[in-house]
Amino acid sequence: MWAYLTRRFLYMVLLILVTSMVSFVIIQLPAGDYITTLAVRYAATGQVVEQEVLDALRIQFGLDQPVYIQYFKWFTNVLQGDLGWSFQQVRPVSELVAERIGVTALISVCSLTFAYVVGILIGVVSAVFQYSVLDYVFTIVGFLGLASPNFLLALILMVIIFNAGGAVGGLYSTEYLNAPWSWAKFLDLLKHIPLPMIIVGTAGTAGVARVMRATLLDELQKQYVVTARSKGVAEIRLLFKYPIRVALNPITSTIGWELPAIVSGTVITDMVLQLPTVGPMLFSALVAEDMFIASSLLLFLTSLTVIGTFVSDMLLFSLDPRIRVN
């Protein structure tokens, strides 16, 4: 058991190392670098920047060196807790990420909870009352939720809510935007949360509901359910103790995989809703080849993906006695 865990941990570290290298290289693959982006931007406004200035900037940023040296420098700094600087904003990356990560996590946790709670409930009702009107309604709505892109749903809901006089876009009303944290600001935040929570959550809800329905339908047929019934266990108690408990395994075990999604947010939807999350930041960093911020975020997401998978395995390990080897 401990040998297994140690081995898994070592693989994890190795995997994170390799992905960080690969992503660092991939970010640099497009022709040019941040300085080129900068020059193009100046050129667009009619200004011409001297070649010497650009070269000086390149040396200052260390962009004149080969990729592997840049990577090595950046990674040793990361290990010491220094994520580097954002070229665009001329601020430390850690500061920029810290600003957004709390809000991102808040929205993600809310929408994930929404997706799982509502999804599991719908799945259970659909399976227990299979082929009932309710089941058909949930199935149709579920497929619509799965099939329609979230940003489209965001736009539609924004129009509806705006016409109804509600708050649309962003996470705070304008008066609280730069205000320090207060009770009133928190309440204002609570008012803005449900919209992104529902929009970001719907696709997940539909997915969870489909999986829950399918697994539960499978489990309801199993012999052990009949055994429990023959013992005289009441139907509701039986439902929760046996088939639902077993059907939850595959779903609970995937929660770990959502870990990276919790901090990344969703790019397009968040842009539409003007949410200050990590997603849009990563997007603009990639476009501008603002590589330290992009690499840091990617490293962060990779780590969380790997850790999340590990957490999933551990969850399943504790949930299902059949998997506890030895």
């Binding site: 052990y224 009949v226 005289g232 009441a234 949930l319």
Partner: protein, 347 residues
């Protein structure tokens, strides 16, 4: 002595989109206290549905359409087929007075609950609310069904046990509340032969010890000969022959029973190269069955115009021996369950 279980004209049908499947269509038999009745028949003849009907756990869309299932419970008789019987009354009987062991020991236990948990569940429901006492009983039951180290096994999970061991655990669960009737639905079919013999012996021993009756469902004639007092042979949802083991084995009357017994190969009695005496044809689908003898299309002694026109009624042919066949009686079973007389055309 009045019977412990008295099933009268039980009809359990499945209303499917293809038509009505009359899985059980007028089954009657009795089980005396401490007796073993064997219910034998091919796959799909309605043996298991009969058992499920007695437990009232027939899966949808199956439904008991008619008949009575009288169960003797401490001096009073309850009709288990009575639709007015409430869920809680039924659940109090299930697992306490009647319990059941199933065919698939590999899947009939929950994979994610410990064995102890699954034995305690039935004890908590019917015998005691005390955890310590329940644990004691559970350990004792596991020891009785022949599981070594019961104190340690009780915390293990089904996947850690072999098929035979799981079936022993199932028997421990079924007998934990000392039922008066055990329904064993092909409990040895999925096990290998040596384990089969052990399980049969175990059920036999425990039956004596616990003074319970057993309704033994099987398609294995050998098992019937081994453990049963009386036998009901089922074909296509009906009991076609019913009597003591001795009568059925040495004096079979119904062509189906005769052919069934003849189809068993006998060691030393079969000549080399001689084909097995299998019954020709297959069991027809019980969907939308017209009123006729279900066996008529496979029977070698079929009487045209008789067997394919009416349902024969179960008639006494010897002491404690009944047969449902026009070769042996002229009684017809009518649609409403009453008995009529066949008018044979003069020869």
């Amino acid at each position: 002595m009045s019977p412990l279980l008295d099933v009268r004209n039980l009809r359990t049908h499945f209303r499917t989109s293809d038509g009505i499947v009359k899985a059980v269509d007028g089954v009657s038999f009795t089980v005396d206290p401490q007796e073993t009745l064997g219910l034998i028949g091919e796959s799909g003849c309605g043996k298991s549905v009969t058992a499920h009907s007695i437990m009232r756990i027939v899966p949808r869309p199956g439904q008991i359409e008619g008949g009575e299932i009288h169960m003797e419970l401490e001096g009073e008789t309850v009709d288990l087929a009575d639709p007015a019987l409430s869920g809680s009354e039924l659940r109090a009987i299930r697992g306490r007075d009647i319990s059941m062991v199933f065919q698939e020991p590999m899947t009939s236990l929950s994979p994610v609950h410990s064995i102890g948990n699954q034995i305690r569940e039935t004890l908590f429901l019917h015998r005691t609310r005390d955890r310590k006492e329940a644990d004691e009983i559970a350990v004792d039951m596991l020891a009785r069904v022949g599981i070594a180290n019961p104190r340690q096994r009780i915390n293990e999970y089904p996947h850690q046990l072999s098929g035979g061991m799981r079936q022993r655990v199932m028997i421990a669960i079924a007998l934990a509340c000392r039922p008066r009737l055990l329904i064993a639905d092909e409990p040895t079919t999925a096990l290998d032969v040596t384990v089969q013999a052990q399980i049969l012996e175990l059920i036999n021993d425990l039956q004596d010890e616990f003074h319970m009756a057993v309704l033994y469902i099987t398609h294995d004639l050998g098992v019937i000969a081994e453990v049963c007092d009386r036998v009901a042979v089922m074909y296509l949802g009906r009991v076609v022959e019913y009597g003591t083991v001795r009568e059925i084995f040495y004096n079979p009357k119904h062509p189906y029973t005769v052919r069934l017994l003849r189809s068993i190969p006998k060691l030393g009695h079969t000549k080399k190269g001689e084909p097995l005496a299998a019954i020709r044809g297959t069991v027809p689908s019980p969907i939308n069955q017209p009123p006729l003898c279900g066996f008529h299309d496979r029977c070698e002694e079929v009487m045209e115009g008789v067997c394919d026109r009416h349902i024969p009624a179960l008639a006494e042919v010897a002491d404690r021996h009944q047969v449902r066949c026009f070769l042996h009686s002229d009684s017809i079973q009518l649609e409403d369950g009453s008995i009529g007389t066949l008018e044979r055309a003069p020869a």
